[in-house]
Amino acid sequence: MTVARFWRETLRRYNLGASKCPECQAVFFPPRSVCPNCSVHRKSLTKMEACQLSGRGVVYSYTTVHEAADGFEMQVPYVLALVKMAEGPMLTGQIVDVDPKDIREGLPVRATFRRLRADGDDGVIHYGYKFALENGAAAKK
């Protein structure tokens, strides 16, 4: 991946920059330039408002990945999840520091800042969000 391709998304990947439809108030991540919910696109086109997700959400679905995606080989087995964010959008991301046995639907998580992957030993390192269980969440069975 070229440096620029990742770099241009850092605002979203580091800080969960999102967008909000001025018509229906729905929040989108990644940010969209047009609201897919409002049938009259003209109403939202060029009018979407920038906003930021709080980073809080709950686990909606989860899987333990044993055959890694390219660049994630050293992390297997890792937990990947769909996380329903407090503001509405669903995100795809890893859940860190968790025993796969402890992961369940509905657990509260918060966004954390981690290394995603690196372009080999001499390339740039990509950083972005992953999710961590809220303190003690796994224990509350």
Partner: protein, 389 residues
Amino acid sequence: MREVAILGIGQTQFGELWDRSFREIGIEAGFKALESSKLSSKDLSALYIGNMASGAFIDQEHVGPLVLDYSGLAGHHFPSVRVEAGEASGAMALAQAYLAVASGEHDFVVVGGAEKMTDVPDDRGAAIASSTMDQEWERVFGASMASLWALAARRHMIDHGTKREDFARISVLDHENGSKNPLAHFRNKISLDAVLAANPVSSPLGMLDCAPFSDGAAALVLGPLESARKYTDTPIRIAASQIATDFVALMHRKDVTTVESTVVAARRAYQRAKIEPSKIHLAEIHDAYSIGGLMALEDLGFYRKGTAGKALSDGEIGNGARLTINSSGGLKAQGQPFGAVGIAQVVEIVRQLRGEAGPRQVSGQEVGLTHNIGGTGATSIVHVLTRVN
């Protein structure tokens, strides 16, 4: 718009074809299709090729004229169109070819699908296979294709009480059928226990829930239905060819346990073909991952959401049962050469409707359906095929 018929079918062996190149398998499928009709290459006026990722797999783009060229048809100078819609590239090529003939612009066309996937190392292959998901918001965060389907599977289990065994049965069925298909990548039968005990890929999916990477090609000859009898004794009518799309990333879908594009494409296809899903008993469904097969049974309208698992465990689905799916072996056993999948599905339904399916022949079927999807369901294409009486 005029009616369109399938006049010829061709398919190569699916599997790891170490000694064969992309262009070779493409040409073989095309000529087999042509030979099975009474047409010759000079009757053709266009070629359509479904191919997902030749640029990534073999560094070769511009495969439209390449296949035409090595088919000895360069001198004809007719249009050769490469069509890409992820893993639905094959069915998308058919949909385009269908429109070309239906519109009257072309009379006779060959539509093929081909993918040469084993010319790259396994890890590179997996990376290319992931290219139909959202690269910036899924792949970057560690998603593999299997993991996305696994997320859908887990939620299906949560929302609908689906059991691990329910979708494992899709793989068992595929291998049962594949064992009777000489062109299939895998011809071994597998047990339910074997699927459940296979190495984990992305829980709850294991190795035997995932279709292989295969080389292979398949092709069809299309022409106007009105003159079809001149070129074949058993023309098969394309009663519907419908495409629907949806959000690219799984996370953005309304409900990850439903492939909405499949629901919509199927609904449109049933309207166009004037048929109810309950009247269809023969289908080739897209099951690159077993859970996808289970979801397709529901999304295509054969079963209500959350009930396909029980139907599978009750034995309602299987060769000659109430619903026959993937008599070819499906993606799991017949194989998964991306661009060829959608065409090979149609080839199998044509064989069945013509009564040429050999040991896996299902009797008395007048209509069959094919279901080909791209990514985790951003594109779904449904074709309904009928016998012509």
